[in-house]
């Protein structure tokens, strides 16, 4: 175990120097490409916000049920099948048909080429499950139908969230899917997430609809409240224009009224439709409805055919800017709820880094002094190993762009404490061997060999704990498991290559010396 070939020594040296340089790049401020890798600091160290959003899919589900119910109505009418009592209740579509037609209905819905109820070959399931009893048929979204809806609304939502966060312009936001109905937003450096939270809290569903006087509008009408929560008006359900037709929106100052407004530009389809509606509706009130509330309802004085217009309301410049931003980025498919929020201010982050570094230095110094006291020359070797080990650890974290968190720093300090273990196991074993074996080289050799199983077993157990922590833990705790796990490998490498190499140099030089350790 004590023999090292020249080639091996060279390889070990190269690896050591490589990681030394890589880890140094964290402390240098150069533009040099080689030193460009740096450890990412977690949100708890650099400050920032962590938001976990959950998509409220209930409205999307309801929408899906309504659309399907309409499809069923049209389809049954087309097929000349008499049905009664088609309704949506308890998250399912229910209708009654004469029991003699049961087989026909079942084949309409459950055949693999069903138009209304698509079949997903990959899941071996339809979008809806059909439950039929006597003359009543009930269609309920199947598990996979639900997954399909959730994933698609998640896909849309994450896109909108990304656009909104980008518009605010924070540095390097991290936006990720979690499960099939959650979105994780990490915003480094942001110490007050209030604005982002309020922007993400709005679905921003915009529509232009006429205010009507009578209830029996062909499209139906509903009573909506104004933004002030007091006044209300009867608004037609006919949508003249929706947010989808918007090309651009900007906050602006109306020079005539001296009011802050949001001016918008429409796409071609939108401009055409808007022109037609405003030509027909001169003198009428056009309500601008945002998320079920009337922002304003101006009276149309002229036909607007230019494809651009203004939304007025009681805007401040900030609220106009936000509304314009929301309109530009588009509507969310469903409301988002913030179910977890963690924000760390930048000064606390810096304090944590300082505390982490101080405790690392002190812990390191204590261990080094103790090892020198206990093992003299070999304590010195163990300490060099420890320092190299630390560089390896930092180097690997740097190389892979791992994220360092406060618990992660604790993991490094703990690695320092535990890293000496392997060397201690070896040194103690050598001491035992020396009691019976007078030849230093043989005793050292067998010390290394015999301590191997204990070292491997001992490290595998810690590794198991670290791996489980990595998969089960979240955020900062994950950072701890990463440093702990990487620390195990760097420890084994530095003990078996660096420490053994140094030991072999020393032992070979002093092979006649009694009581070597």
């Amino acid at each position: 175990m004590l023999y090292f070939s020249k080639l091996r020594i060279i390889i070990i040296s190269i690896i050591t120097i490589f990681f030394l340089f890589i880890s140094l790049s964290n402390f240098l401020n150069t533009e040099d490409k080689f030193f460009s890798n740096k450890i990412n600091l977690g949100l708890d160290l650099q400050g920032g916000s962590y938001l976990l959003l959950e998509i409220d899919n209930d409205p999307v589900e309801l929408q899906k049920l309504q659309n399907t119910a309409t499809d069923i109505r049209n389809f049954l009418n087309k097929e000349n099948i008499k049905f009664i009592d088609l309704r949506i209740s308890n998250k399912s579509i229910i209708f009654n048909v004469d029991p003699t037609l049961k087989e026909k209905i079942e084949s309409f819905f459950m055949d693999k080429d069903s138009e209304i109820n698509p079949y997903y070959p990959q899941y071996k399931s339809h979008q809806f499950d059909l439950i039929s009893s006597n003359n009543e048929f009930q269609l309920k979204l199947s598990d996979y139908g639900l997954v399909e809806i959730k994933t698609s609304s998640q896909d849309q939502a994450i896109e909108i969230v990304r656009r909104r966060v980008d518009e605010v312009g924070t540095n390097e936001p991290n936006i990720l899917k979690r499960g099939n109905d959650r979105i994780l937003v990490e915003l480094p450096g942001l110490d007050d997430p209030m604005r982002i939270k309020s922007l993400l809290g709005k679905t921003a569903n915009l529509s232009f609809r006429f205010i009507t006087q009578n209830d029996n509008d062909t499209f139906g009408a509903e009573i909506l409240k104004y933004d002030d929560e007091i006044n209300e008006a009867l608004v037609s359900k006919r949508i003249i224009l929706s947010g989808e037709n918007l090309l651009d929106a900007q906050p602006n100052m109306n020079t005539q009224t001296n009011e802050t407004v949001v001016s918008f530009k429409l796409d071609r389809v939108g401009a055409k439709r808007f022109g037609k509606a405003t030509t027909e509706g001169i003198g009428k009130q056009l309500a601008i409805v945002l998320d079920g509330k009337i922002v304003s309802a101006p009276v149309i004085r002229d036909a607007i055919v230019s494809g651009s217009g203004q939304i007025s309301g009681n805007f401040t410049f900030q609220s106009a800017t936000d509304l314009a931003l929301l309109l530009r980025s588009g509507a969310l498919p469903a409301p988002l709820n913030i179910i977890e929020e963690r924000t760390v201010g930048p000064d606390l982050g810096q304090d944590s880094i300082n505390a982490g570094i101080i405790s690392l230095c002190i812990g390191f110094a204590l261990v080094i002094i103790f090892m020198i006291y206990k093992y003299k020359v070999f304590g010195f070797i163990a300490n060099i190993t420890l320092i190299v080990n630390l560089f390896f650890l930092i180097g690997i974290l740097t190389l892979f762009g791992a994220t360092l968190t406060l618990p992660g720093i604790a993991g490094i300090i703990l690695t320092v404490g535990m890293a000496v273990d392997a060397n201690v196991l070896i040194f103690e074993r050598i001491k035992e061997e020396l009691r019976e074996e007078k030849n230093n080289i043989i005793a050292f050799d067998s010390g290394y060999v015999k301590s191997k199983t204990a070292i491997i077993d001992a490290n595998v157990t810690t590794l198991i704990a670290a791996i489980i922590l990595f998969f089960m833990g979240s955020g900062p705790v994950k950072g701890f498991s990463v440093t702990l796990a990487v620390g195990i490998f760097t420890t084994l490498f530095s003990v078996y290559f660096i420490a053994r190499l140094l030991t072999s140099f020393y032992v070979v030089k002093n092979k006649e010396k009694p009581k070597l350790i």
């Binding site: 309020s198 002190i362 320092v416 810690t462």
Partner: protein, 297 residues
């Protein structure tokens, strides 16, 4: 040579008692779960004026109708930790608090840290925390079962349960907060305690192969003594590192490092006084390992 085996019986009684007390504490007093596992809002506040203190803050918060609010000093003199247990934490609760605070104590304060965990997330975190601990215990059991014989596996796992239970019992007794980092600490304790036990077991097995005439009672004692200096040195260096985190690593890591310090002490103790007496009780002998090894081959 120290006769550890002389005290096997008495320490078994001590350990059984400690575990029993811990279980009683855990089931009647329970654990002080932080917002990670219970849901709620946490604010670390720093003030720049010296008029504000715990009493004035309490006065301000009691007017906000937020339910149970816990306010205490945190680290520095000007820092306070405010915990709000309100279950239906709406997402703008923090802005409302900030507004109310500005109205009553002025603008000389900053929120250094804000955490807001909804009830759904907290129950998920609790579940995954418990799963992680159980999973790691199972994984350890499995690993030791592969590497050693079942008697060793049983001894190691009982030692692990002992360490985890007593550490949690101490947290219950001292009313210390359980949060995500404590789960990390418990998992690390599991790894560390196992590590310690494995090293002694490794020696027991080696000695079992070597000596057929020494009874397991004395053989465990011999093995403990042979590995003793390693056990102590590693525990000392690990404790040195942990004490350094505890004293200088800042308020956030205090609970974590304290749990680890308890764990390392109990882990070291249990490797000697729980794991080994169990081998004695199970009458492990040279035959045990020879038979098992023959079967495994």
């Amino acid at each position: 040579m120290i006769n550890f085996n002389k005290f096997y019986k008495s320490f078994s009684i001590v350990s059984t008692l400690l575990v029993a007390i811990s279980i009683i504490l855990l089931s009647f007093k329970g654990l002080n779960f932080g917002i990670d596992f219970k849901g709620g809002t946490l604010i670390e506040l720093r003030t720049q004026d010296n008029q504000t203190n715990v009493a004035t803050l309490r006065g301000v918060f009691s007017k906000m109708n937020l339910g149970d609010v816990n306010i205490k000093k945190f680290g520095q003199d000007s820092d306070y930790l405010i915990k709000i247990e309100k279950k239906d934490t709406s997402s703008n609760i923090i802005e409302l608090i900030k507004e109310d605070l500005t109205n009553s104590i002025g603008e000389n304060f900053t929120f250094r840290r804000v955490e807001n965990v909804g009830p759904k997330v907290s129950s998920e975190l609790l579940k995954s925390g418990i799963t992680a601990i159980l999973l790691s215990l199972a994984a350890m059991l499995f690993y030791i079962w592969i590497r050693f014989e079942w008697q060793f596996s049983l001894g190691a796992i009982i030692a692990l349960f002992h360490d985890v239970l007593i550490t949690l019992g101490l947290f219950s007794l001292l009313n210390l907060e359980i949060n995500l980092s404590i789960v990390a600490a418990v998992l690390t304790i599991v790894g560390y305690s196992m590590n310690d036990t494995v090293v002694i077991f490794d020696r027991v097995r080696e000695n079992l192969r070597k000596y057929s005439d020494i009874k397991i009672f004395d053989l465990t004692n011999k093995s403990i003594n042979e590995t003793l200096s390693r056990t102590l040195i590693t525990s000392i260096t690990t404790l040195l590192a942990l004490v350094s985190i505890y004293l200088f690593g800042g308020e956030i890591l205090k609970g974590f490092s304290l749990a680890m310090i308890f764990g390392v002490i109990f882990g070291t103790y249990s490797s000697i006084y729980i794991a080994n007496p169990i081998l004695v009780k199970l009458r492990v002998s040279q035959k045990t390992i020879i038979k098992e090894e023959a079967e495994k081959n």
